[in-house]
């Protein structure tokens, strides 16, 4: 959400340069196009130079909480594909999907952490295809169904503080730490702990067999 707000700010500044009224919906089409053109121009100052400790992370939203995942654990970001339901699995495993020939277990991450599950048959949100281990060697392990992928942001390990009341209590167990980014809390999702849980291990064994 923060990223979206940031962009809105830029839009407003662009509109202000054109001398248009405050309400962007009331803009004439020509001015709107001009604003878009302004937005498209490269703006390198927006991306802060990454430091050594910073770990580039994919930022996604789960419920009302922004979470980050190291980019080397993400194999791909995709639209939610067609899911084939599989019987006798935990309720948060929504089934398997065919991703360019690979069979992938789709896990409803909202359901997994205890939030409201995604609606049945829905295709909203994004699928984060994650690796079991960091780097190019990590095998593709599962597709995590999340609300939205906001972008890529640097996360400094040193800034991480223990989870506090600023994030949803139900997520606290799966978070390695919390830091403040763009004035709002950002939780570092602990993927290793996620994979270490017996349910996920059992699931992998079952799906592999």
């Amino acid at each position: 959400m923060c990223a979206s707000d940031e962009r809105n700010d830029r839009d407003e500044s662009a509109a202000g340069r054109s001398g248009a009224p405050d309400d962007p919906d009331g803009l004439p089409l020509e001015e709107l196009l001009a604003a878009l053109a302004a937005g498209v121009s490269p703006r390198r100052e927006a991306a802060a130079p990454p430091s050594e400790q910073d770990e580039r992370s994919v930022v996604f939203r789960l419920g009302s909480t922004r979470c980050a995942l190291p980019i080397d654990r993400v194999f791909e970001i995709a639209e939610v594909p067609k899911i084939t339901a599989v019987p006798n699995l935990p309720f948060w495993v929504r089934g398997v999907a065919n991703l360019r020939g690979d069979i992938l277990a789709v896990i409803d991450l909202r359901a997994f952490v205890g939030l409201t599950p995604f609606p049945r048959g829905g295709r909203g949100g994004r699928l984060l295809v994650v690796r079991a281990a960091p780097g190019p060697l990590g095998q593709v392990a599962a597709g995590l169904w999340v609300d939205e992928v906001e972008g890529v942001a640097p996360v400094a390990r040193g800034e991480l503080a223990p989870p506090d009341g600023s994030i949803d209590d139900r997520l606290a167990h799966w978070v390695a730490g919390v830091l403040t980014r763009d004035g709002r809390p950002l939780a570092a999702f602990d993927l290793d702990r996620f994979f270490a849980t017996p349910e996920i291990r059992g699931l992998n064994a079952e799906l592999v067999s």
Binding site: S4, L27, L29, A35, R43, V58, D72, I77, V149, V152
Partner: protein, 726 residues
């Protein structure tokens, strides 16, 4: 009620009362006879039935005996038995035939059936049985037949016979005869059995004694009955006595034979055949007696039935003849009385009607005939007396009447006339009447003439009075009418002027209406062009809406592309990260691309919002234009109606103007005409006044004439005339 009946009706009543009693008595007599006949008929049936039974009663014991002999070794009996069987069968056939006809009446069918059955059994089993069994079987059949004989006697009334001559016959036939035959038969067979074997056992001895005693006892009742029969039937006495004697002798011989040669003999030397023959003779003699008695009783019954039937028919015939005779006598006597009585009453009716010459005819020499003659004498005397007195009274009365009739003439009363009769006052009355008639004619002529003059005068007077009154009223009316005509002429003039000015107004209205119609049609045209333009605008705006829809679709497509671009950029970032340091520059580009994609998505969302508002406004504009079109259509409809109304006003105004013009013309003509009417009225008024004066003068002279006529009528009024002359 009976008092008012006529004599012959009363006689008929007595006859009817007698007539009701006769059939009742007749019925009683005939039904008693019929009962007796039925009784005797049934007895006759019984005798018919008894005949074969009696025959069987002598034949069956014979067969029993012969069978005993056959079983004892005498094979010669076989042929005899066969002949006997044929005879018995004949008897049974005859019995069956009879039973079919009268069995139900006598109630014998069941018993006869049982006997037949026994007989059949007997025939079938005869050869296989011991002598003792055979004997018992035969005896059973015989006993049954004996019982049946008694039953038939009971059910056919023979035992109940009320007359002595047949009672004893029945007794022998039914009771003593069968018993005697059976006893003798049984003794015969037992004795024959003993003789055949040559000696008797003690039991047989005892039985023989018993049977002999039975046979002995049966003789006495038969003898007694035969004696009584002989007394009651003298013509039959000789025969029955002979037969009875024969039977007794045969029985005596047989009994003697048994006693001397079987019972008491030290050794039996008698042949069985001889003994049997002797027994058979005894049995047959008794059977002959029985059948003779049976024939006798049958003929007795037949005679009795015939006698009873004759008796009954005689009663019927006598009754019918006496009834017919009585009816004839009643009718005849009633007719005689009735005719005499109606002759007398008829005569009285005629006298009552005034015919004193009527006389009754004396038809008979009895009391009624003599009464009719006496009445005739009385009437003759009475009529002679009445005639002489009448003559004198009539002359006196006619003279008095004539005087009375002409007494009014002196006082001037001409209305009465003297009655003209055949006697001597008739001529005088006739002369008076001629005088009166002539006077009456003169007076009535005078009266009629004066009356006519008087009434004519008064009629004329009334008419002239009416004329005079009419002339005066007419004169007054003419003066009034003349004034009215002048007034009318003035008002017509005024009408004429008004009509002329109205014509101008009507033409003005016509012109105005025409202008109005033009204005309305121009309005309608304008509204039609407005409607066309509004519809055109609505179409354009709709097309604009459709275009913005297309724009929306395109923008959505752009949004999708931006979304996919965003994912692509993120994946590019991931790939760049995988490439390590080498991919760092690429990562920057990827991030920038991602940011651009997000901005594009935002912009498309805003464009979509804009397009939605454009579309909703377009819809509203289209709806407003449709409303406008509708209003324009209804407005032009109203304008059209107004135009039509104005057209009609125009037509009406035109016609109005024409009408007013013609009114004006007519009014001018009327004004001219009314002047000449007024002038003519003045002339009429003068004439009328002259007529009234002449009429008054005529009235005066008529009044004088009426007075003269009244005077003349008064002078002849003293004479009185009959009512028809007035």
């Amino acid at each position: 009620m009976l008092r008012n009946w006529k004599v012959w009706q009363k006689l008929a009543l007595i006859a009817v009362a007698m007539g009701i009693m006769v059939p009742v008595l007749l019925y009683l007599a005939v039904s008693a006879r019929n009962e007796d006949i039925g009784f005797a008929l049934k007895e006759e049936v019984g005798t018919l039935y008894l005949r074969p039974l009696t025959s069987l009663l002598s034949r069956l014991p014979e067969r029993r005996g012969r069978t005993q002999a056959l079983l004892g070794g005498d094979l010669a009996q076989r042929r005899e038995i066969a002949a006997l069987d044929a005879l018995i069968d004949q008897d049974f056939t005859a019995l069956s035939e009879l039973d079919r006809q009268v069995g139900a009446e006598l109630g014998t069918t069941a018993a006869l059936g049982a006997i037949r059955q026994d007989w059949q059994n007997l025939r079938v089993q005869a050869a296989r049985q011991s002598p003792e069994q055979s004997f018992a079987a035969h005896t059973r059949v015989v006993d049954r037949i004996t019982t049946l004989v008694e039953d038939v006697g009971d059910s056919s009334n023979i035992r109940l016979d009320p007359l002595r001559d047949t009672f004893y016959l029945g007794e022998v036939i039914l009771i003593w005869g069968p018993r005697a035959i059976e006893d003798r038969g049984r003794l015969r067979e037992r004795a024959a059995g003993v003789v055949a074997r040559g000696q008797a056992t003690p039991e047989e001895e005892a039985e023989l004694s018993l049977l002999i005693a039975g046979v002995d006892q049966s003789v006495a009742p038969i003898r007694r009955a035969v004696r009584l029969i002989a007394e009651d039937n003298p013509d039959f006495a000789e025969r029955v006595k002979t037969l009875a004697r024969e039977s007794e002798e045969k029985t005596g011989t047989f009994l003697g034979l048994v006693r001397s040669r079987v019972q008491r003999a030290p050794a039996i030397t008698l042949s069985s055949a001889d003994l049997f023959a002797s027994g058979k003779a005894a049995v047959d003699a008794q059977a002959v007696l029985s059948s003779a008695l049976l024939e006798r009783i049958e003929s007795e019954f037949r005679e009795r039935i015939a006698g009873l039937s004759r008796n009954r028919n005689l009663v019927l015939a006598a009754t019918v003849i006496s009834v017919l005779l009585a009816a004839f006598l009643v009718t005849f006597v009633a007719g005689l009385i009735n005719r005499q009585v109606s002759a007398i009453t008829g005569m009285f009716q005629r006298i009552g009607a005034g015919d004193f010459r009527a006389r009754a005819v004396a038809m008979s020499g009895d009391e009624l005939g003599r009464m009719a003659a006496s009445i005739n004498d009385v009437l003759d005397n009475t009529v002679a007396l009445m005639q002489s007195r009448d003559e004198r009274d009539r002359i006196q009365a006619s003279t008095m009447k004539l005087l009375e009739e002409i007494s009014g003439l002196a006082e001037g009363d001409l209305s009465r006339e003297a009655e003209v009769t055949a006697d001597m006052t008739g001529a005088i009355a006739d002369a008076f009447n001629t005088v009166i008639a002539q006077l009456r004619r003169i007076i009535s002529d005078v009266q009629e003439t004066t009356l006519r003059v008087s009434s004519a005068a008064s009629e004329i007077q009334t008419t002239t009075q009416h004329l005079a009154d009419g002339s005066e009223a007419q004169s007054a009316q003419i003066v009034g009418t003349s004034a009215a005509v002048e007034e009318m002429a003035l008002s017509i003039q005024q009408v004429s002027e008004n009509a002329a000015s109205a014509t101008g107004v009507a033409e003005q209205a016509l012109a105005n209406a025409r202008e109005g119609a033009d204005a309305v049609s121009r309005t309608v045209e304008g509204m039609n062009s407005i409607r066309v333009q509004v519809q055109e605008s609505a179409k354009r705006i709709k097309r604009l809406g459709e275009s913005s829809q297309e724009i929306g679709e395109i923008v959505q497509l752009i949004g999708d592309i931006a979304d996919r671009t965003s994912i692509l950029a993120l994946n590019a970032s991931i790939q760049a990260a995988m490439a390590g340091d080498a991919g760092r520059g690429f990562a920057v580009v990827a991030e920038e691309v991602e940011r651009l994609a997000v901005r594009s998505a935002d912009a498309t969302k805003r464009i979509a919002t804009l397009i939605r508002s454009v579309q909703s406004e377009t819809h509203e504009a289209v709806r407003a234009m449709e409303d406008t079109t509708r209003e324009v259509v209804s407005g032009s409809g109203l304008a059209n109606a107004a135009g039509q109304a104005l057209g009609e006003i125009q037509g009406v105004s035109g016609r109005l103007a024409e009408l007013i013009q013609s009114i004006s013309t007519a009014a001018q003509q009327q004004a001219r005409g009314s002047d000449s009417v007024a002038k003519a009225m003045g002339d009429i008024s003068d004439n009328t006044q002259q007529t009234a004066a002449g009429t008054k003068r005529v009235a005066v002279s008529i009044t004088n004439l009426a007075a003269l006529a009244d005077n003349l009528r008064g002078s002849v009024a003293e004479f009185k005339l009959p009512a028809r002359a007035a």
